[in-house]
């Protein structure tokens, strides 16, 4: 039987109602998606069924520290995805900028931010992407940058296109940029996706909707920011990122 968008919408509505009911009964907001999320079919066999085992950090806990990166790990052009080839890529040039913070609001300094994305037509420069949309010889869609002293990062890229996938019939991913972030501790590691405001596909996407809490989901959508737009050049989007998880300095402070 073909799984339709209506089927998925029904499952999503039921899960959201469940979360709202739990919230009304006093449950805390679910900041992260459940790993068991049936509307995203690939999650079915890939989530643990045993509860996670809590590790209470002591100073010996290796995960309270984390990998470090430096200027040898990035090049000058890595943050500008529109200048990595001989010609200009097709599409709407954008600037994406924001700050990388921990939950205490402190900037994460000198850390590696990686991103990857589809081109303006919704095609990845990946061998296994079967979407019959054109590749762009002037766009690979991979960027890296180190955060500044205030935790800030900035990329110049092009707005990615939506693309179809096989989760259900007529499934389309909204335009999104994949991000990979490191904090000052391995426990703060984060891989996520950034979306664009006003995208009509947001409501239909089981991956975005796997974040069941409305406020949490909204944090994945960047804001158009005219002050980041550059004349004759690019449109600006602001997206701040807050890393979850403890780090060594929190443990020292007895959080």
């Amino acid at each position: 039987m073909t799984l339709t968008q209506a089927d998925i919408d029904g499952e999503l509505a039921e899960i959201r109602a469940g979360h709202e009911k739990a919230r009304a009964a006093g449950a805390p907001a679910a900041h992260h998606p459940p790993r068991d999320f049936p509307p995203y079919r690939s999650s079915l066999l890939r989530h643990p069924k045993q509860p996670l085992v809590a590790v209470h950090g002591d100073p010996e806990t290796v995960e309270l520290s984390g990998p470090v990166f430096g200027r040898t790990d990035v090049t000058e052009l890595d943050h500008d995805l529109t200048r990595q080839h001989a010609g200009e890529p097709l599409g709407e040039r954008i600037t994406v900028s924001g700050r990388l913070l921990d939950r205490a609001g402190r900037p994460v300094r000198g850390q590696l931010v990686e991103l990857w994305q589809a081109n303006a037509s919704g095609r990845y420069a990946h061998r296994r992407d079967q979407h019959p949309a054109p590749l762009d010889p002037n766009f690979t869609g991979v960027g890296r940058v180190l955060t500044g002293d205030d935790g800030s990062y900035r990329f110049t890229t092009i707005k990615p296109g939506a693309y179809p996938w096989r989760n259900h019939e007529n499934a389309w991913r909204p335009a999104h940029i994949h991000f990979s972030l490191f904090g000052s501790a391995f426990t703060q590691r984060l891989v996520t996706q950034m979306y664009f405001p006003g995208d009509p596909l947001l409501a239909y996407d089981p991956i975005l909707q796997s974040v069941t809490d409305d406020a949490a989901r909204a944090r994945l959508v960047a804001a158009y920011d005219h002050s980041l737009s550059r004349p004759e050049r690019s449109l600006g989007y602001r997206w701040d990122i807050v890393l979850d998880g403890p780090c060594a300095t929190w443990i020292e402070e007895g959080r």
């Binding site: 790993r35 690939s42 996670l52 590790v55 790990d73 994949h178 996520t192 406020a215």
Partner: protein, 186 residues
């Protein structure tokens, strides 16, 4: 003090393969080190099938027990933009390896000098996994708070099995019988 709400996690998806893995990602041990060890294994799903599109990351103390780490895991060439690989001398403590078509990964590293019961911290990403999973590959058994808190069956999933030639086998089962113990640091 109020804490900022965190940015939610998302799956790494199917197409990270041309973006996140890098040449030498699994060569954490500097070249020419005769004391290097190999940690390897398979990632399996709940049906027992290998997971060919997982990304596994490793973080650990150096042989002296320091967790300060070092930059240079993914050194780049400022002229061509390509990867230079690690410098062959420094130990950065960080590894990143995609699973192959058989769901297999391998990382060549140095034995961690800390903690007392040494382990390599492992972080698993995959298509279909909405939020990464942490686990630990223990290279020995001994008095350890986490190991002590588990039943023998569950504990066994965290012990990397010694094999010949300084090699340790550590399989990761995302679901099902012998499901790996995954960790919550919150």
């Amino acid at each position: 003090m109020t804490y900022l709400p965190p940015t939610p996690s998302h799956t790494v998806g199917p197409f990270y393969g041309y973006a996140l893995p890098f040449p030498g990602g699994g060569d954490v041990a500097p070249r020419e080190r005769s004391d290097a060890i190999t940690l390897h294994g398979y990632v399996y799903d709940g049906a027992g099938e290998p997971v060919p599109d997982a990304l596994v990351e490793f973080w650990q103390a150096d042989p002296g027990g320091s967790v300060a780490g070092a930059p240079g895991s993914m050194r780049r060439d400022p002229v061509t933009g390509g990867f230079l690989g690690r410098d062959g001398v420094a130990f950065t403590g960080f590894g990143r390896v995609p699973t192959d078509a058989d769901g297999h990964y391998a990382v060549r590293t140095l034995p961690p000098g800390a903690p007392a019961v040494p382990y390599i911290s492992v972080c698993v990403f995959a298509r279909g996994l909405t939020h990464h999973l942490f686990t630990r590959a223990y290279l020995a058994e001994g008095p350890d708070a986490l190991l002590a808190s588990l039943t023998p069956e569950r504990r066994a999933t965290l012990i990397a099995r010694p094999e010949p030639h300084r090699t340790h086998r550590f399989d990761i089962r995302l679901q099902g019988e012998e499901e790996t113990v995954f960790l919550d640091f919150a």
